[in-house]
């Protein structure tokens, strides 16, 4: 093990100097983690209400990390596995890094204006955000059960706080509490699963576990304790990616959290958790594929059905997107169930697509927020096309993309996943995917109809007057003060269309990617 070897090599020095190549391998994490410390210190010296300054600093940190990741991609290191086989800085990891860092950047762009409107300008926000990002970066390259657990907790714990960041908002408090308790509960299951896996194989390294499983599987022996461990892993990770039936926290937490946090949570967490999901199941646990294939497929199907059905009955955009997020998790699970490089690539493509369209949709919700609260009820969306034609148009685009319309990136996301499933012979997954996509039209188009339906403006105006806000108050004010936020929405919209027309831009990046595990 790591500790033992190090101690043996340098008996007189308890702390072995880490080789530079190892540090280089986790450079993005170091930058983000170090950046968190820098922002922490900066928060002490900048004056109160220094939100934009800290946001800029955070943005710079994230940009630096993104730049490093891009550089590492371009350099294409020959030995991407570092820290004695516990972290892989391969292209798979770097691709997930791109998506996570870009999403975080978008969230940072949305934050200053939003936090000011909701009166939440605290420097801790950015520190926690960076800490969570660091956790995600740890997670998406983890090659060791210990590192996986560490990553999951490092990304979750700051998120618990962020979910409850609107301290005076009861919903935010409630959401944070639910997230904390259910998250801890799920972590315990996950951890127990890891313990079983470790106990039966004697290793925490994914590479070593793979070797043991392969030996057993080729001999036709499937250890029931390992199966139980895998089952608990599925449960714990399904919780993190909010796949049904382990998604229970999702709608409440999404609704309660400040909209920027929800944006971050819904996209980045999912990407990181799916990264480890894909790595575990398409590589480490591949020998046991015959055993876990059906359970994973069932989770995928349940997620698609449940998420899409319940979304139909929603009246809040945040909750709608929560259920749609459950459904989308189901679609990505198709990629996990297919395994193999094409399933993995399709899943990664979908996650990138999801980052664009979901960040965009949530960003619109963010922009609609006004003093003290988020405006996410359907009645508050009515007639948006006349008040904010640009935002309404972009929102419509994101809805169409989430529904999988051609010429949007969502279309190709679904296309690749479904065709991967078909090529793998898992026709039922594709059929369920297509059927539930049809159902999803009900609620996505409903949002568009609401925004473009005539004659509901009056209601909105009255409601606003009751609330003591001038009808022009919200988004127009938001736009004048939050141009980076508008830029984020516009970029998300641009990406949604660009990748809908040129999916090859991303897909070619993914071509060579398969999962390295040691």
């Amino acid at each position: 093990m790591i500790g033992a070897q190090v101690g043996a090599a340098v008996p007189w020095l308890p702390l072995h100097f880490v080789p530079a190549s190892d540090l280089l391998g986790i450079l993005p994490i170091l930058i983000v983690g170090g950046g968190a410390v820098v922002v922490l210190l900066a928060d002490l010296v900048v004056p109160r209400r220094g939100g934009p300054l800290l946001a800029t600093l955070t943005g710079v940190v994230l940009l630096a990390a993104l730049g490093t990741a891009v550089g590492q991609w371009a350099a294409n290191a020959a030995h991407p596995v570092v820290f004695d086989g516990s972290y892989a800085n391969d292209r798979f990891t770097l691709f997930a890094d791109f998506v996570i860092l870009a999403t975080a950047l978008a969230v940072v762009g949305l934050s200053p204006g939003y936090l000011r409107r909701r009166g939440l300008e605290e420097g801790e926000y950015y520190i926690l955000l960076l800490a969570s990002v660091a956790g995600m970066l740890v997670l998406d390259g983890a090659l060791n059960l210990i590192v996986i657990f560490l990553g999951i907790e490092l990304l979750s714990i700051p998120l618990y706080v962020l979910a409850g960041f609107a301290r005076d908002d009861k919903k935010s408090q409630e959401g944070a509490m639910k997230y904390l308790l259910l998250g801890g509960f799920a972590s315990a299951f996950l951890l127990y699963g890891m313990a079983l896996l470790y106990g039966e194989t004697g290793h925490t390294s994914l590479t070593a576990i793979h070797a043991v499983l392969l030996r057993g599987a080729t001999a036709g022996q499937f250890d029931p304790m390992i199966l139980a461990g895998i089952g608990l892993l599925v449960v714990g990770l399904a919780f993190k990616v909010s796949a049904a039936p382990f998604h229970w926290w999702t709608p409440d937490v999404y609704q309660g959290s400040p909209a920027v946090v929800t944006t971050f949570m819904s996209v980045a967490t999912k990407v990181a958790a799916f990264a480890v999901f894909l790595r575990l199941f398409s590589a480490t646990l591949a020998p046991y594929r015959s055993e876990w294939e059906i359970p994973v497929a069932v989770v995928a199907i349940i997620s698609m059905i449940y998420g899409n059905l319940v979304a139909v009955a929603q009246t809040s955009v945040k909750r709608l997107l929560a259920y749609s997020g459950i459904a989308q998790a189901g679609y990505v699970m198709i990629g996990v169930a297919v395994g193999r490089p094409d399933g993995t690539q399709a899943a990664l493509f979908y996650l990138a697509a999801y980052a664009f369209m979901n960040t965009g949709a949530f960003a619109v919700v963010t922009l609609l927020s006004r003093r003290g609260e988020d405006c996410d009820r359907y009645s508050q969306l009515a007639g948006l096309s006349r008040r904010e034609p640009l935002l309404a148009g972009l929102m419509a685009l994101f809805m169409l993309s989430l529904a999988g319309f051609p010429l949007t990136v969502g279309f190709f996301g679904k296309l690749f996943l479904f065709s991967a499933a078909i090529h793998d012979g898992q026709l039922s997954l594709a059929i369920w995917g297509i059927l539930t996509s049809a159902v999803s039209l009900f609620y996505y188009l409903r949002v568009i109809l609401l925004m473009y339906a005539p004659g509901e403006d009056v209601l909105e105006t009255q409601e606003m007057e009751v609330a003591g806000v001038s009808p022009e108050g919200s988004a127009v004010a938001a736009r004048s003060t939050a141009s980076p936020a508008v830029l984020v929405v516009a970029l998300a919209g641009f990406g949604t269309i660009l990748l809908g027309v040129f999916p090859a831009l991303i897909y070619t990046l993914l071509q060579g990617i398969s999962v390295v595990h040691g």
Binding site: L182, F239, F246, P251, D252, L309, V310, D342, Q511, G512
Partner: protein
């Protein structure tokens, strides 16, 4: 050809009209008219210039190196299975690549050149129209679509262009949407196009599914060059059950021709074209004379490697072409609407082109397309001047005596008529001479096809000179005709330019009565379609030529005798062969036949379905599904109680369920 230069030029040629359309569409009519008047024709003429440069750079190359494929972007190169080692069933590979070769450049020249002239003319013709900007948006869109169609190197974008053309033509025919007849005509055209689209798509799909490459491997390709390279002798189409080469390729040929027939208004999908004259006259000139209707000819010429393997399909093409040509010629003789006469003449001429490409005289067919585009656009635009002067009256019976009041228009129209009738030195003479000569040489098995082709000359010169005589000579028969004035320069210059073209372009194909082995035009197209396989002897060729010219002159003579001198009564045919007159005047009753056999039953069925089936079955099914989904959603959401305890319980329950199922599986 320099790939980069070709890429830039073809991108310019395609991009300029697209940009013009996009700008007009995005601004939704808010651009100043003056700007649109410059921009609309400007982008098309710019595209024309780009095409000319392409042509020049192509001509500098050896003939064998004149075909270049340029890829703009890879729409979907990534097969979904790449990396897993499974490539046999790779996903769809569709690049947006264009083919720049003599055939496509010829089409582009006509589309952007004649199209540009028509755009200029439209600035004058539509000057008073409130939908000026919208008009140019549609026109530019049409040019873009048509260019996409002829430039595409893949089945996918060929089909996309094909469908976009149908849409643009629908929008332009129904441009005056306040006129119910225009809307109906647009709809009719569109529905007919869709029928053709189905054929084209099915044919393309069959190619995609069944084409095998060397070694019998299924290619699953949409790349036209790959397809043509593998459709030679010895190549096989398979239908999955076994080698059914001939049957499959015949089916593909017929399906593709269904698409071609719809675009080119060939029987049985021809009835939309006369009605399409409801659109503004420049539209008729652009779409229904010069470009769109010749897409069918292009399609058959482009897919000639397939038709060469499918003699039955090719024969069908030829027979339908010549049949349509004859029928339309007969109908044209009795119509009174000046535009409809020209429309039937278009149908008839295109029938001849289709005949030519059907018998394998590709170069002759394309040359007829080329000259026809010039003189038919000329006829339409000149007719447009007349209509404009008469305040939208299109009935030749209320014209008369216009030769004095609209001298330039008269001269131009007459040049167009001479070209159409195939009178020597005018463009149509050369193209028809070659077409019929080639047809005679290549289709010897059915000489009567040729006989029909030549005799159509009589009809052609009769109906067009009938219009010349009735509209331009004699006394004015209406107040409008008395006060008609020559068109403004903006509308006259394009007409005169086209008249010049219609006079000279024919010389491109002069073969010096068989002395030159191939003509300039044949040599140009040779890299794509090859040279004609057979030559008629100089004697036969000369006889055919003489017969054609004499028959055309005979037609003019009949007009002179009937309308000029009154030697023969106008009522001669109606009195002595009323059935023939009625058949012609009623357009062979095709509209009535379709109405009785297709339209009415469909409508009746639709009404019945709406009354009986829809409320009980479809409505119930749709609302049933909707209600089921909604109620299922509401039921399921009750799980979401908001209590942490319940959430933890469900989480635990499903985990336990998984463990139990696992246990059951293991025991």
């Amino acid at each position: 050809m320099n790939p980069t230069l070709t890429l830039v030029l073809s991108a310019l040629a395609l991009g300029l009209p697209t940009a013009g359309f996009a700008l007009n569409a995005v601004t939704a009519g808010r651009l100043p008219r003056r700007l649109v008047a410059l921009m609309g024709p400007g982008v098309v003429l710019g595209s024309f210039v780009a095409t000319l440069v392409l042509l020049a750079s192509m001509l500098m190359q050896a003939p064998s190196r004149r075909g270049v494929t340029v890829t703009f972007w890879n729409w979907l190169t990534a097969s979904t299975t790449a990396g897993s080692g499974v490539t046999a069933h790779s996903g769809l590979n569709a690049a947006f690549s264009v083919r720049i070769d003599p055939l496509s450049v010829l089409m582009m020249l006509v589309i952007t050149g004649i199209g540009g002239v028509i755009h200029v003319y439209s600035v004058g013709y539509m000057a008073e129209d409130p939908g000026f900007n919208r008009f140019f948006a549609y026109m530019n869109l049409f040019i873009t679509s048509m260019l996409t169609l002829v430039m595409s190197n893949t089945l996918v974008f060929l089909i996309i262009g094909w469908a976009m053309v149908a849409f643009a033509s629908y929008a332009l025919i129904a441009f005056w949407y306040e006129r119910p007849s225009a809307v109906v005509a647009g709809r009719k055209a569109f529905i007919t196009q869709v029928i053709g689209d189905v054929g084209l798509v099915l044919g393309a799909f069959l190619i995609f599914l069944n084409l095998r490459g060397p070694g019998g491997r299924l290619l699953h390709t949409v790349d036209l060059q790959v397809i043509f390279a593998n459709v030679g002798p010895g190549a096989h189409f398979h239908n999955g059950l076994g080698p059914l080469g001939g049957g499959m390729v015949t089916a593909i040929g017929i399906l593709l021709f269904l698409g071609a027939a719809a675009k080119s208004a060939q029987w049985p999908l021809h009835t939309w074209l006369p009605d399409a004259m409801e659109g503004p006259t420049p539209v008729s000139a652009l779409i229904h004379a010069a470009t769109m209707v010749t897409a069918g000819v292009y399609l058959v010429a482009r897919f000639h490697p397939i038709y060469q393997q499918a003699p039955i399909a090719a024969g069908l093409v030829a027979v339908i072409g010549i049949g349509t040509a004859l029928m339309a010629g007969v109908i044209g003789c009795t119509q009174f609407d000046i535009k409809r006469v020209i429309a039937y003449s278009t149908m008839s001429q295109i029938g001849l082109m289709i005949f030519a490409v059907g018998v394998g005289a590709y170069s002759a067919g394309m040359f007829q397309f080329f000259t026809h585009a010039c003189f038919k656009a000329l006829l339409f635009l000149a007719a447009g001047n007349v209509i404009h002067a008469l305040h939208d009256d299109q009935d030749i019976r209320s014209m008369g005596g216009l030769s004095r009041r609209m001298r330039w228009t008269f001269v131009s129209f007459t040049v167009g008529a001479l070209a159409l009738a195939g009178i020597p030195i005018f463009a149509g003479f050369f193209s028809k001479e070659e077409l019929l000569g080639q047809g005679l040489a290549l289709g010897p098995a059915v000489p009567w096809l040729w006989v029909i082709g030549v005799s159509i000359n009589v009809l052609t010169s009769f109906y067009i000179f009938r219009v010349v005589w009735v509209a331009f000579f004699g006394e004015a028969r209406s107040a409008n005709a008395e006060h008609a004035h020559e068109a403004p320069p903006l509308m006259l210059i394009p007409v005169v330019v086209l008249a010049g073209l219609a006079t000279v372009v024919g010389f491109l194909n002069i073969d010096f009565a068989g002395f030159a082995p191939v003509t300039v035009f044949q040599a140009f197209l040779q890299p794509v379609v090859g040279v004609p396989a057979a030559h008629a002897s100089a004697l036969v060729d000369g006889m055919a030529l003489l017969a054609g010219v004499l028959l055309s002159l005979f037609g003019v003579g009949v007009v002179w005798a009937v309308y000029g001198k009154g030697l023969v009564s106008r009522e001669f045919i109606p009195q002595h062969a009323p059935w023939l007159y009625q058949l012609s005047f009623r357009k062979f009753y095709w509209d009535e036949i379709y109405d009785a056999t297709l339209v009415r039953p469909s409508v009746a069925m639709a009404v019945g379905v709406r009354r009986l089936v829809e409320p009980g079955v479809f409505d119930a099914a749709v609302s049933g599904v909707r209600d089921a989904v909604a109620s299922l959603g509401s039921d399921l959401r009750t799980f979401q109680t908001g209590f942490v305890k319940d959430y933890a319980l469900w989480f635990f329950f499903f985990t336990l369920l998984g463990v139990v199922l696992l246990g059951l599986r293991l025991t």
